[in-house]
Symmetry: C2
Subunit: 399 residues, 2 copies
Amino acid sequence: MKRFFIIAASLLWGAALFAQQALIPGTGIVSPEINADNTVTFRYYNPKAVTVEVSGDFLPTERITFTMDGRERSWDAPGRAALTEQNGLWTYTSAPLEGELYSYTLYVDGQKMMDPSNIYQNRDIATWTNIFTLSAKKGDKGWYYQVNDVPHGNVSKVWYDSPALGMQRRMTVYTPAEYETNKKTKYPVLYLLHGSGGDEDAWSDLGRAAQILDNLIAEGKAEPMILVMPNGVYFNQAAPGVAVNMFQPTMANSRSQSTVEIEDSFPDIIKYIESNYRVKKAKNSRAVAGLSMGGRQSAALSRKYPAMFGYVGMFSGVVPPEVDEATGKDKVLDAVFAAKPELYWIACGKTDGVMVNSLLLNDYCEAQGHPVTFYESEGGHIWRNWREYLTIFAQLIFK
Amino acid sequence: MKRFFIIAASLLWGAALFAQQALIPGTGIVSPEINADNTVTFRYYNPKAVTVEVSGDFLPTERITFTMDGRERSWDAPGRAALTEQNGLWTYTSAPLEGELYSYTLYVDGQKMMDPSNIYQNRDIATWTNIFTLSAKKGDKGWYYQVNDVPHGNVSKVWYDSPALGMQRRMTVYTPAEYETNKKTKYPVLYLLHGSGGDEDAWSDLGRAAQILDNLIAEGKAEPMILVMPNGVYFNQAAPGVAVNMFQPTMANSRSQSTVEIEDSFPDIIKYIESNYRVKKAKNSRAVAGLSMGGRQSAALSRKYPAMFGYVGMFSGVVPPEVDEATGKDKVLDAVFAAKPELYWIACGKTDGVMVNSLLLNDYCEAQGHPVTFYESEGGHIWRNWREYLTIFAQLIFK
């Protein structure tokens, strides 16, 4: 009897699994394939297609000019490269790439589509892309974005009550690995804010924030700290798909402009964190930083609560100086510096449209003798820069 | 000066955001649209397409027969429906649907693709599908899968050390809402296991485990409990994309069959949970359940450690009785019942290939006088059933 049962078990088991989960795995094609020389080969099978292109952030950008609201504007679009076809199999091999996390999609006869052979995908606001990570050697930027053989902190999705916004809201909290064992130690906190249309998952997913902190802490380059990543869209409880049914995130709908903003509700966040985690509560144990809209919010938070944060990081987003015509002064900004922040850090890419405002802020501060640090990188308004800015900023704080 | 700065800020801000994140949002088309009568309309624009179909789990399944390893097999494939075209816009409206979480994809000229107008997607093993949730009224199955206005527990991704598997591993832990406030209360634990090719994100994503428990606890239908959702693939540290670069999950590569299995490493998981959380440590405060491979693992865990779990749930997966030819007995299984579990619960869908083994197990138990509960549902080896089984099972335990 035993033999019969085992055979029946394994056959039926296999058939059931094979079948009903509809999981005939993949396409049988390896794409992308990371080659030994760090070039990357993309493959796509479709004998009927007329053109197949790959568009990704590893290709040179293309400057595109367009008119909006009667004004000419331009931006750096991700580059495209044509795949070539043989027997229905389309291929393209990139130049050698540095260790990084890359995003791409395919265009088949002009229609955007995911690479059907690559299950790794990520959503940024309303745009899905395939992703791949090129393994990086220690010291490369990309090394910090990987899960390496170091102690790992925990990442939690927690719910806090926000009386200011009248709802329960979800946020992401990273605690460093040692938090679980050093049960009496208190930690500093970096509040880390996403961009327009983003959500509380953005920094932990595309931002690789947990990996960056794990790796920096393990190397002794950053202090063990807690990261708090709230949802910065005032009317959302949580990321799309968690709480708000079929909500379509866009860049345009993140700020109320009239009613309560995230800055008004920030004390609710701090109250939850300081009640539920072992944290240091002094100003110099609190930092705030963010990308794009989150950079603007970080600037606004420091203006609204100059005694709250010892460190302020603005990644590709600032509040430009609001200068009184009579005095030539921005009194609110001057008050931020009167409170003597340990670090007021502006980062921006050379081709980023936010550069103008970043420079306005920097120049005003320099003219007033306010200590400000300006970090200029290559590139524009992209995640590659924001991961790098976090990697740098995290090494500068709480020391 | 002030006026100039603000104008410059808002214009550049808008242009930069519009441009560099490449976030021209969506297609301008609403798809799917949930209509007032609970029908759902799908829309897709493509004037060049010849055929467009939608394939989803809200359509009647189609029985497909195929030959594998020289044997004829069959399974219930998700049904398909044709969209009809007018001026390049393809549409299809479903029958009225019950409140549920549904999955679908499009087929354009035979090529599978995501609905470009729906940003909501989920990966199950190696298969991406679009998803949508039909709002359900209280009492509907689907109501339990939504974020309702009830207290919410926290969901954490934590790392534990597994000496048995020789690696740090990631798992998902749900703590009930009151865990944060009742600081002295200890809680029972349900260990909840995913299927072949799945990972530690499966139950919290497609399984909606946190929402199910939040809602059941708020209604007083389930005891406040901790859910522990480990990664059941013996060679993986974590879900694809977190730790293992470009790993391709399949159903076939989840079990070692020869070296150490998840069951051998389970004490590592329990040790971490019982060291780091406020949990009750008695047998009757521990439950184990799982779907498919996880159901088999739950059965195997109860066989291996009969004194460990007071409740065992097998969702579409079991270890069939291993009966000695001479005695007609499965001594190991008999020992499970000698330890008097509070509940030994088998659930399976009528058209599930695992039904044969589930019945073998049920019949053996009944013949031996072992108390067993068998729950038979409609349908097959699908998430709709597993969400329902969890909803039922969670109400039966720790009472």
